[in-house]
């Protein structure tokens, strides 16, 4: 075990841990914007109660997201300093801008969102919620910009092995950014509304907090009905993007070894890929379907893995199965949405116990799909850090393996500890349920500032 291998494991462990939290932060912040908007608009107390309840989950989640995210920024330097110094001119401004534009926005307005109820007018509070949501999406934009640049680099030229920037926006808005950004933010929305729906289903099954659970679930399911099909569309677009720009990755995802010449490439449904033997030990395949999926024609050519040198191939087994897991989840959720639509037509959405149980069971699947998606895209980028330009082995820091062994061991103790505590306090918060009795926040005005309330409801003005 050398520093390179251990650093890769450590980065994988810390990112896979971290991404769970931003996924919920991004989606839940948008959900909270919707709920607070409804409260200001309809002036029904229940929406305020919903906000206060879901924001508790949001706050716990945000804290773990912040602390686990700082780790990653450090690891670029501690574990991959050669990479950092080689690509910094193009890559690092994105991280600097993330801090500048997104993190400050989130940190500055989160406190108003959590603690500002009695201190700012309702309109300012709503603005704070919107800005936190905007900040979290902006953060995703910069990070996906940076990660997409590693997948499909643009806006640079190589001078003596160093990346020099030639166009900032060309680098940020690199070819795979639009589809990967859409895919990830939709994943975050989908994951989060599923959590809301699952928790609400649990309350309905228990017959607790029924009013809050019904409304929470309605909003969540409406949003999910939009995001779930949309995600399948973005997933497909993402797959074709990979086909055009990272053909070795696509071939590995599909366990596709031989380039098809005069007929369509088969779609391998299940297989046991054998990387040494360059074949599948066992497979069930449907003729022509892979060509259809990625080229939208029955006999389009799809390059097989054998076309790429052995040293340039990613791990087929991991990619094949991670990808299939993600896709399967996408379609399971689609079926659940169809069921929801049928029940909604019959007016039995909140009474059908098998459906509520299903929602409860499937609600963590969004997280799993997000993890599998990141495993697919990152393992698929191997053996490169910057696709086809800089190898992972060329990026590691000049440090002894012992350093990384020490920190990795600590992460393997600390992260599960934090994760379990997080889970415990989330469950406790859910168990305690919403607070339905505390007084509503007073309507406040800032001196010299017309609040949104007074614009909407002149009767309430002082």
């Amino acid at each position: 075990m050398d520093a390179l291998f251990l650093s890769r494991i450590q980065f994988a462990v810390t990112t896979l841990f971290h991404i769970l939290f931003p996924a919920l932060t991004i989606g839940l912040s948008v959900y909270l914007v919707v709920v607070e908007f409804l409260w200001l608009r309809k002036k029904e107390e229940i929406y305020y109660r919903m906000y206060r309840f879901w924001v508790k989950i949001f706050a716990i989640n945000f804290a773990v997201g912040v602390v686990s995210g700082v780790v990653l920024e450090f690891e670029f330097g501690t574990n991959f300093s050669r990479f950092s110094q080689t690509v910094s001119n193009v890559f690092a401004p994105l991280l600097a801008f993330e801090g500048m534009t997104a993190f400050f926005l989130e940190a500055g307005f989160l406190s108003i969102m959590l603690f500002g109820w009695t201190r700012v007018p309702r309109g300012v509070h709503f603005l704070a919620t919107c800005l936190v949501a905007f900040g979290s999406i902006l953060s995703a934009f910069w990070i996906l910009g940076a990660n997409s640049w590693m997948q499909t680099p643009a806006g640079f030229r190589l001078v003596n092995g160093k990346f020099m920037i030639t166009g900032f926006w060309e680098a940020v808005l690199n070819p795979s950014l639009p589809v990967r950004m859409s895919h990830m933010t939709t994943a975050a929305f989908e994951t989060s509304v599923l959590v809301v729906a699952g928790v609400s289903a649990y309350y309905l099954l228990k017959g607790k907090h029924v009013d809050l659970a019904r409304r929470s679930m309605s909003i969540a399911l409406i949003m999910a009905a939009l995001f779930v099909p949309l995600q399948i569309f973005f997933g497909d677009a993402s797959g074709r993007e990979v086909f055009y720009r990272q053909p070795a990755k696509l071939a590995a995802i599909e366990a596709h070894w031989e380039t098809n010449t005069d007929r369509g490439a088969p779609f391998v449904v299940v297989a046991l890929p054998d990387m040494k033997g360059e074949r599948n030990l066992f497979e069930i395949a449907v003729p022509d379907v892979l060509s259809l999926l990625v080229t939208h024609s029955f006999n389009g050519q799809v390059r097989g893995l054998k076309e790429f040198p052995r040293g340039d191939r990613p791990n087929v087994f991991i990619l094949f199965w991670a990808f299939r897991g993600m896709v399967a989840i996408g379609f399971i959720l689609l079926l659940v949405m169809v069921w929801a639509a049928v029940l909604w037509r019959k007016g039995r959405l909140f009474q059908n116990r098998p459906f509520l149980w299903t929602l409860l069971i499937v609600h963590p699947l969004g997280f799993l799909a997000t993890e599998l998606g990141w495993i697919t895209t990152e393992v698929g980028r191997q053996p490169w850090l910057v696709y086809s330009l800089l190898r992972t082995s060329e990026g590691v820091s000049p440090i002894p393996a012992g350093n990384v062994l020490w920190s990795l061991a600590l992460f393997l103790i600390v992260l599960p500890l934090i994760g379990m505590s997080y889970f415990y306090y989330i469950l406790k918060t859910l168990d305690r349920g919403p607070d339905m009795t505390s007084p509503l926040p007073p309507v406040q005005r800032l001196a010299g500032m017309r609040s949104l309330d007074s614009i909407k409801d002149p009767k309430e003005g002082t």
Binding site: V71, G99, F104, A107, S111
Partner: protein, 331 residues
């Protein structure tokens, strides 16, 4: 001023902003053990709950900016100081989650400990990092070329003790602003004592630095530093004197400002002793700088965004100004 010097000053500004802002947050955590009961601990925590995350963000931004404009500094130091820097991160993890977990816990003991020990570890690791930077780093072909424990020496350990005292001073003087009654009275005493300890450390470090790091001595007594380097110890002494006076007169805001001045004196003294070296003892900021275009792009971004950031961070502070009650922000 050329681009590199401008960015070096900006990075220096971000670092001192971080040191002062997260310094008082960490300092209050270091005083956590002196709180006598759960209500007082609530009070201490509530005094920083709305601001700690924004305070810590200066670190994240500073790290990102360093990566973008002085990539060699970022790469070399983060490899060389692997152990103190990741220790720092582990400390921050426990300190950060304690804010949210403690509020939700019935038995708060475990998160009280996580908050205190996490912060203590973070501060000690910060001191070791700073000491490691000053002690000098082996570089070859733009990469770290030393051993993993090169940063560890008596000077480094002394600096981390000094930083502990310094953050306690910042924390206690900030508590004076935010609290009343028994907690405030105790904060006055804590500020008074830690002030003297910090003075002691400032004197030790000022004498020790040129001995530990010989070129500093030559730097001090040659042009142009000889003309201004002596102003920093004087600024420090003036700030210290004003700190004692304002503490005795039970002023509320001045002691904090004096502690900041005291910190600033030490920081500026150190920074101007090391300049123009970004990675002591040999690599200058010019040598460690990024491509010109990258520095320009990030500079433009910073010029547009940072004033807005400052404006709303100050706005956020102003919303939570005044004495903190122990009603608990989460309730």
């Amino acid at each position: 001023m050329d681009l590199v010097t401008l960015w070096a000053s900006l990075v220096a500004l971000v670092i001192i902003l971080y040191v002062v802002l997260d310094g008082f947050s960490l300092g209050i955590a270091l005083l956590f053990r002196t709180a006598e009961n759960e209500e007082e601990r609530d009070l201490l925590m509530n005094s920083i709950a709305p601001v700690w995350d924004a305070n810590q963000t200066w670190l994240v931004f500073g790290g990102g900016a360093l990566f973008a404009v002085f990539p060699m500094v970022y790469g070399v130091f983060f490899s060389a100081l692997y152990i103190p820097l990741l220790t720092f991160v582990f400390g921050l993890i426990f300190r950060g989650v304690a804010f949210e977990f403690r509020v939700n816990a019935v038995r708060k003991g475990i998160w009280n400990k996580a908050f205190f020990w996490g912060s203590l570890v973070a501060v000690v690791a910060q001191g070791l990092t700073l000491g490691g930077v000053i002690s000098g780093t082996k570089v070859s072909e733009g990469q770290f070329a030393g051993d993993p424990l090169d940063w560890l020496n008596p000077f480094t350990v002394t600096l981390s003790l000094a930083l502990l005292a310094g953050y306690i001073l910042l924390g206690s003087t900030y508590l004076i602003i935010k609290t009343t009654g028994a907690v405030q009275q105790r904060a006055y005493r804590q500020a008074f004592r830690s002030g003297w300890v910090v003075l002691g450390f400032q004197i030790i470090v000022t004498i020790w630095t040129p001995l530990h790091y010989p070129s500093v001595w030559a730097n001090w007594f040659s042009s142009p530093r000889i003309y201004f380097i002596w102003t920093f110890p004087i600024l420090g002494l003036v700030a210290f004197y004003a700190l004692l006076k304002t503490l005795k007169r039970r002023r509320e805001v001045w002691p904090f400002l004096c502690s900041v001045g005291f910190f600033l004196a030490g920081y500026l003294g150190l920074a101007s002793s090391l300049y123009p070296y970004a990675i002591p003892p040999n690599i200058t900021f010019q040598e460690a700088a990024a491509q010109r275009e990258t520095m320009l792009i990030t500079l433009w971004g910073a010029m547009i965004v940072l004033p807005m950031v400052l404006a709303y961070v100050i706005y956020s502070y102003s919303i939570f100004r005044g004495k903190v009650g122990n009603e608990g922000y989460h309730a």
